[in-house]
Symmetry: D2
Subunit: 260 residues, 4 copies
């Protein structure tokens, strides 16, 4: 069995503190073979920098996936092509910096395929994630049946549709983006593990990571506000997925919620 | 303590079967004082009819709340004003049929205030739900401190903002609409129970209630499809909330997921 | 010089009456070489049927383009593949019934290329119209430099961006979809004629074609309404574009607004 | 007769140059009684500053209306309450800085009422503009029957609906926001002048004011770009409306397009 952990959107400094506090222990205690984290909010809630990516990798994360905030810190455009451990949604236009999938080695030197895609419902116009999946998954399966997809999307319908579409073709479809962990983790009939959203790793007492007061002020007054990560204790949100190495079928998916 | 149960969007015939199978037993076994259900998808996934509402009430539900699908079955316009047990989002324009809040008696004859609101992010334009809450909550509190809000909304940020805004002013903010139960139920510092989404009570093997194949076909081809409730086994999604009758503070919130 | 006329969205029966009243006379009086019309609203404001398409062709229209309402009358799926004079937005998924571009003969047997694309801003998710244009335009230019694009889109920014992107590569970019003719027709520096929106050919005393009262009722009450084409006199909206046959450069673009 | 001129969204420095070049001459040559301009893009395409507002007033503009970009330059929050010649959309939440309507004196000391509203379709959630109009118009009519509304909105349907709703109650409904002048100016049956969009006063060779290259790059790559006003020659877009002072009925509406 190969054991993967996918960590929900890492948000700001509290999210990185959560990574450092929890990932090494979980790797050891849970015998994790590969650790992935969505890093689109790692730098102050907006994008990621090279330094912050290194901080996350140093804590034991093997792969960072991204989402709609991928370009918020513009420096990523300069380093993403030299950092094969960061992948961004595959369905950006051809020619976009970075790549949308990759092969990664577990601690036992086994190969895991990872693909990152973005949804389109209530989100910017990108290539069709379903047809993109049709293109990439066979490429990944040539190397390994153990495949994890981070599907970064807003609408629950689009996420569920993708999971069912992928059932039997990838080991796991992990939704990200809403910053709230869902309680619907399960193994679909074809052997694909699915959760609508892995959740958020960052400030606990917040509005999906952001300091509450300016968000409320924004909703009430419609005036522009400075949004920043909330201070205080963190939450750590992830899922652990066990995958049969021969078939790529998921045997188990389990939610993790740790608190500071 | 007053024990409330809020049931996530009841979807089609399988959802109603789930209500009939589960509600009477839960009332008895859990000593429920008042049972609420979001009924916007009760009739074939789209709206509600008088007959179907009666079916749900007969199973033990005391209050039906609604959402963006409230008018999908047009006959509701004719009976909603005579059926005080159905409430629709308060922030529809003044003059809209039906009401947006009400007072309901528990099995021990205690009064519970209920308010239904709709979000505006990624949803049709309605009056500001935050300011509407400011108007209605004091009216409810004149009669009782025990108040439940069904906040029917898409965006996790808007739901979390509402919960924090209401903290200490209502007993519970229960999100609905996404049809996926979230794993973030908690009691906020001011005593308000909160869950981003209660989930969906309806077809289990589905895309948020709908038969999978046409949904996938729609995402892949963009051609119009006939959407209908999926067949097969159901899931029953709800939360049970214990509220202190003197203060209206929530003492506990617990998720329910029953399967056929 | 080749003279093309592009007619804005034909809306319901009044729109078809406008076609019959105006097209034959304009062909004769203006010496039109090819007549195109957007037909997405031809059948009662929603989609098109085979019979209605024949009615429009019989009045002298050579090519019907479509838009987001293309599938509203489902029977089009059955006949669009056998009717080469109807084209739908090219950027629908591969495998979609119908085609997105075509070659058409003028009354003097010269070839005109036509492409139909849909925007993505405030519209459903489709393939990138800019990259699709990059694919199709060279195919068209192999046969002829005289090319007209119907860009069916909501946002003025997306339409202007497309026009500038196509400048020098097609003879004309005619926006459709908003049902209101814009007053910005011009020839861009590279020789491409452009208008943000050609307008609507249909009921004059209406809300973009639709009977006013239900639209107002909808905005005021948010209750569902039955939308139908307004009755009464029509407006006929079009542009006439003169294109140099050797180079495909537009020499002139002129707006037409005829009333009943 | 009272002659009003409403100028479309003033965009950046080229827009202000257009104001200075055109407004004084038009006041003189056209005998304008009151001049209004939408100023939401006056400062570099984004919002307005006090200094820039003074520059516009100095050129002869009497009233500046705003739109969704009203707060982009945050300093407006500090001066809008002391500058009665600037009005922002009325349907912002109560308590918002500034006001949404006002009374202004013509050069002959006659009173004109002005109201600014924002649409909600494809725009942020605000109070219902239709019901807001119902509130404000009677207040204005107590002082004067000569009333101009700037309805800042995206969707042509919402704008047309508002115009028909206001027909006979205000002298003119001038749409703004899309930055493209429409060719549908007319007097509705009740005496209200209407144009879907007045257009944009700013850089001519641009994508609705913005430099073309970054906009195209954005559509093609989805990468963030720095948007700035295009350089070069300007366009000046406005409408001139003649209103009968006794009845407030519009007698004429005429489009103005001047070029540098
Ligand atoms: Fe995120
Ligand atoms: Fe995201
Ligand atoms: Fe629902
Ligand atoms: Fe809903
Ligand atoms: Fe149309
Ligand atoms: Fe359309
Ligand atoms: Fe503007
Ligand atoms: Fe605007």
């Amino acid at each position: 069995m190969i054991r993967l952990m996918m960590i929900g959107d890492v948000f700001g400094r509290p999210g990185r503190r959560a990574i450092k506090d929890n990932v090494p222990a979980l790797i050891r205690d849970e015998n994790l073979d590969l650790v992935l984290a969505n890093g689109e909010n790692a730098a102050g809630g907006n994008g990621i920098t090279r330094e912050i990516a290194m901080e996350i990798f140093a804590a034991g994360v093997d792969v960072i996936t991204m989402g709609n905030h991928v370009w918020n810190k513009k420096e990523i455009i300069n380093f993403i092509d030299r950092e094969s451990r960061i992948i961004r949604p595959y369905n950006y236009p051809p020619g976009t910096p970075g790549v949308g999938y990759g092969f990664f080695k577990t601690r036992n030197n086994e190969t895991v395929g990872v693909i990152n895609l973005s949804g389109r419902v209530f989100m910017p116009g990108l290539d069709c994630p379903f047809r993109c999946a049709d293109q990439v998954v066979p490429v990944l399966r040539e190397q390994t049946p153990v495949i994890l997809m981070d599907f970064h999307a807003e609408a629950t319908s689009e996420k569920a549709a993708m999971a069912h579409y992928m059932d039997g073709r990838v080991s796991a479809v992990c939704g990200t983006h809403t910053h709230v962990q869902t309680a619907d983790e399960r193994i679909l009939p074809g052997g694909t593990a699915f959760i609508t959203d892995v959740g958020m790793t960052g400030p606990y007492d917040s509005v999906i990571g952001v300091k509450k007061e300016p968000v409320l002020e924004r909703f009430l007054t419609q005036l522009p506000q400075k949004f920043e990560p909330a201070a205080g204790l963190y939450q750590f949100n992830a899922v652990i997925i066990d995958v049969r190495r021969e078939t790529g079928r998921a045997a188990a998916i389990r939610r993790i919620q740790n608190y500071e």
